[in-house]
């Protein structure tokens, strides 16, 4: 026995174990090299132009105008989308109303649910196509669209499908009735996923919808329209109109819409709330955030560093709940910042369709310029900027992951939502100070807390004024879990049974 063991040990030694670098820095260059791993786009078709989806048909826009959609990774034109006019929005709402009063409110809840189950299955069946299109259209890494956006979108439909015939269990002592026609306006950061968040609960509760995707990312919504046809969904139950802010405002101000669901900036959310003042139109607003991520000295530091990276750099930081304000307890600040920098060095910024890519393209030129302006503001405010040293592709809108240290609470880059891969770092000493700083913002969407101590987790998580608290994790989503903000981060919840409330009137 002993002899055998010794031999085994000897063999292990002989294999030539390479020690890690003396300062424990992650030395990726010395060990591994990445080959390109491009995702083939052979399996997808992108048409030259896309029409509106109204009453079960793809129809040309009444004014015949189309606008170009750019692939942000290449700056090349990808396709063009129809610009919906007021007339088109009217047609879509009329179709939705007709469908609501006709087929959709007469079929039984159980059958209604089965259509939604079909949509969930169809997304899964065409998962690869959806993931590739999402990455080409919006610039997000294929790894994320494939592993996060598309599966979660399907899961949302699956989850809400099951609610359709069980609504009486969701609202104690009340009977739930659908509102009617829902107007839904979604952002460009998670196009298919936001579509699922909006459409699934609306249909499950018996409403019909008119949805407007963001002008820079409308592709997967129109592909989804194909699924509605394939699922045999009655005409007019789902209508998709493309266009920019003007089209959105025609939806918001339409007299025959019973509910508005909006995800986007706080600024636009306030405009929408104002437009609806004095009306009976219901609304939910999922707005901006400036998420605090609080790291305590007793946190599992390496996991926390991974968590911080995921919190701010997921989807190029185009996430309303991104952990964009890092608060590190003073004693570990140097260590955490050093580890963050080391980890940032390993991030691969580049082609969204490469499976190795961690950070893809900034969604649009406009957003790219906005982020760069904020970087300039940060430097002018006297903060210290650190960026990783990776090479960026020559074409396309790319931004290096960025840290700002030496910032203070009143700095613009600490207070305002940047919506890009930009993290500000501050320190704190006591638990109370950490909570106080975390809460010092008009926003209240999401935040994180990292500590090994359970009682501290419950203390901090219950004192953070945010709709979502991730403890020892970050940016986790699930259809069963309500999502939404406190304070100026919005009104209402999406996901879970709480996500049903905004689509029903309770009798």
């Amino acid at each position: 026995m002993d002899d055998e063991k010794q031999t085994a040990d000897a063999e292990t030694v002989e294999k030539g174990f390479k020690p890690s670098s003396p300062n424990s820095k992650l030395d990726f260059n010395g060990f591994w090299e990445y080959d390109d791993a491009p995702q083939s786009t052979d399996s997808v078709d992108i048409e030259e132009q896309y029409n509106l989806f109204i009453d079960g048909e793809f129809v040309s826009p009444t004014k015949g105008r189309y606008f170009e959609s750019i692939n942000p990774a290449t700056e090349q034109s990808l396709t063009s989308f129809a610009e919906a006019t007021k007339q088109d929005v009217d047609n879509a709402v009329e179709a939705a109303r007709k469908a609501f009063e006709g087929s959709w409110s007469t079929i039984s809840a159980k059958e209604r649910g089965k259509y939604i189950f079909r949509l969930a299955r169809l997304i899964k069946e065409r998962a690869r196509e959806f993931a590739i299109l999402e990455s080409m259209d919006g610039g997000k890494p294929i790894r994320e669209s494939r592993d996060v956006d598309v599966p979660l979108a399907a899961a949302h439909f699956f989850y809400y499908a099951g609610w359709a015939d069980k609504l009486e269990y969701a609202f104690p002592a009340r009977k739930a009735e659908p509102l009617g026609v829902a107007g839904q306006i979604i952002p460009w950061n998670f196009p298919l996923l936001m579509l699922a968040w909006k459409i699934a609960p609306a249909l499950a509760t018996g409403n019909t919808v008119v949805l407007k995707p963001a002008e820079s990312t409308s592709l997967t919504a129109l592909k989804f329209a194909e699924l509605c046809r394939d699922a045999g969904l009655p005409d007019g139950v789902v209508n998709i109109v493309t266009g920019a802010g003007q089209t959105g405002s025609q939806i918001v101000n339409h007299d025959d819409i019973d509910k508005i669901a909006f995800t986007g900036s706080t600024k636009v959310g306030k405009i929408i709330k104002k437009s609806l003042a004095g009306t009976d139109t219901k609304y939910t607003l999922e707005l901006g955030g400036k998420g605090p991520n609080i790291i305590f000295e007793d946190a599992p530091i390496d996991q926390a560093v991974e968590g911080i990276i995921n919190a701010i750099f997921f989807n190029q930081g185009h996430v309303c709940c991104a952990g964009s304000r890092l608060f590190v307890q003073e004693g570990i600040a140097d260590e955490v910042i050093q580890k963050l920098r080391d980890r940032m060095e390993t991030l691969i910024v580049g082609d969204p369709l490469d499976k190795n890519t961690d950070i893809g393209a900034i969604n649009s030129e406009q957003q790219y310029n906005k982020i760069n302006e904020y970087l300039e503001v940060g430097v002018n405010e006297g903060a210290d900027m650190y960026q990783n040293s990776c090479e960026l592709p020559e074409k396309g809108y790319y931004c290096r992951p960025t840290l700002f240290t030496n910032v203070s609470q009143s700095n613009k880059i600490v207070q305002e939502e940047i919506f890009g891969p930009v993290l500000t770092i501050q320190t704190f000493r006591t638990v109370e100070e950490g909570i106080e700083k975390a809460n010092n913002t008009p926003y209240g969407l999401a935040g994180g807390v990292w500590t090994d101590k359970g009682s501290k987790i419950f203390n901090v998580s219950s004192n953070i004024r945010n709709g979502i608290v991730w403890a020892n994790t970050y940016n986790k989503f699930d259809p069963t879990s309500p999502f939404g903000g406190y304070k100026e981060s919005g009104e209402g919840r999406e996901g879970g049974l709480h996500g049903l409330y905004p689509y029903v009137k309770l009798k």
Binding site: G269, K273, S461, S462, I468, S481, P482, E491, L506
Partner: protein, 288 residues
């Protein structure tokens, strides 16, 4: 022996657990059922609203930090105190024109309403919270949490029952509030403040002002440190629009719930509590 001279009460406001007069020094006249002057009420100003909001915000942490059981006890205690002083409130309602039977019914319903919400204090979280079966290796749960400071217009025509019906669901959920009493009949509200004062409600949790609605509308609905505004009287469209618009400044939740019959069951519901709650979802990994 000459007839004894009655000691008249000065009706003040209730801010931060104290009974100050309005800082403006102004008053307005309150009339009884026969149109005779009954008393002078404080005509509160913007400054009073601001002071009250500061007190409500300061009281929030303590009130929200108390156990649900404790908040329920305190609501029950308010009911106890009111029960003891029933006669005073029946009298007060009679002076503004209530028939005795109706006044008694209103005070009884007010006491019962407090008891109703006292009982909800440690139950609505169970009914409206959830543990969510997520698909990943995480444990997560969603809980209602109070929004913060709520400004309230108490119903105009129901000086006591109306006020209690809008106050109780707001505070039982851990919020603090600033209430503008019925403009026409403010006196029961001020007397009710004395009940609150003697029933363990910490100062600042409920602040009661009297004055003109039109004058205070803007100040109560635009304050940037207020999280919600609650009113139940039917009002004209133009004013409703104005309230909604003011709410957009800091995304205040505006809850407008017209109630026709305050004695009925439609006037009490756990949904009045959840109207002033946020839902927080907390995640944690499951594993070693």
């Amino acid at each position: 022996m000459s007839d004894r001279v009655e000691v008249l009460k000065t009706y003040k406001t209730y801010i931060g657990g104290n009974f100050p007069r309005t800082e403006s020094g102004r008053h307005y006249e309150v009339y009884d059922g026969d149109g005779e002057i009954l008393a002078n009420a404080c005509q509160c100003s913007r400054k009073d609203v601001r002071d009250a909001v500061v007190e409500a915000r300061n009281a929030f942490e303590d009130w929200n930090g108390r156990s649900a059981y404790n908040r329920g006890q305190i609501l029950y205690r308010i009911a106890e105190m009111l029960e003891m002083r029933k006669a005073q409130f029946v009298d007060e309602l009679e002076t503004v024109g209530y028939k005795t039977k109706k006044a008694e019914a209103e005070v009884n319903a007010s006491i019962d309403r407090l008891i109703y919400y006292a009982g909800w204090s440690d139950k609505y979280q169970q009914v409206f919270g959830s543990i969510n079966p997520v698909a990943s290796n995480h444990f997560n749960f969603s809980m209602p949490e109070p929004m913060g400071v709520v400004n309230i217009w108490a119903p105009e025509e129901r000086p006591l029952l109306g006020l209690i019906s809008v106050m109780a669901p707001v505070i039982v959920g851990g919020n603090t509030c600033v209430i503008l009493a019925s403009e026409k009949y403010p006196l029961s509200a001020v007397s009710f403040a004395e009940v609150l004062h003697s029933s363990d409600v910490p100062g600042g949790v409920v602040n009661i002002l009297t004055g003109y609605r039109d004058e205070l509308l803007e100040h109560m609905t635009t304050h940037m440190d207020v999280n919600a505004f609650f009113y139940t009287d039917e009002i004209e469209q133009e004013k409703r629009k104005q309230i909604d618009e003011h709410g957009t400044l800091n995304l205040k939740r505006i809850r407008y719930t017209p109630i026709t019959d305050w004695q009925s069951e439609e006037a009490e519901s756990p949904y009045f509590i959840t109207d002033f709650q946020e839902t927080k979802t907390t995640w944690h990994p499951v594993g070693l």
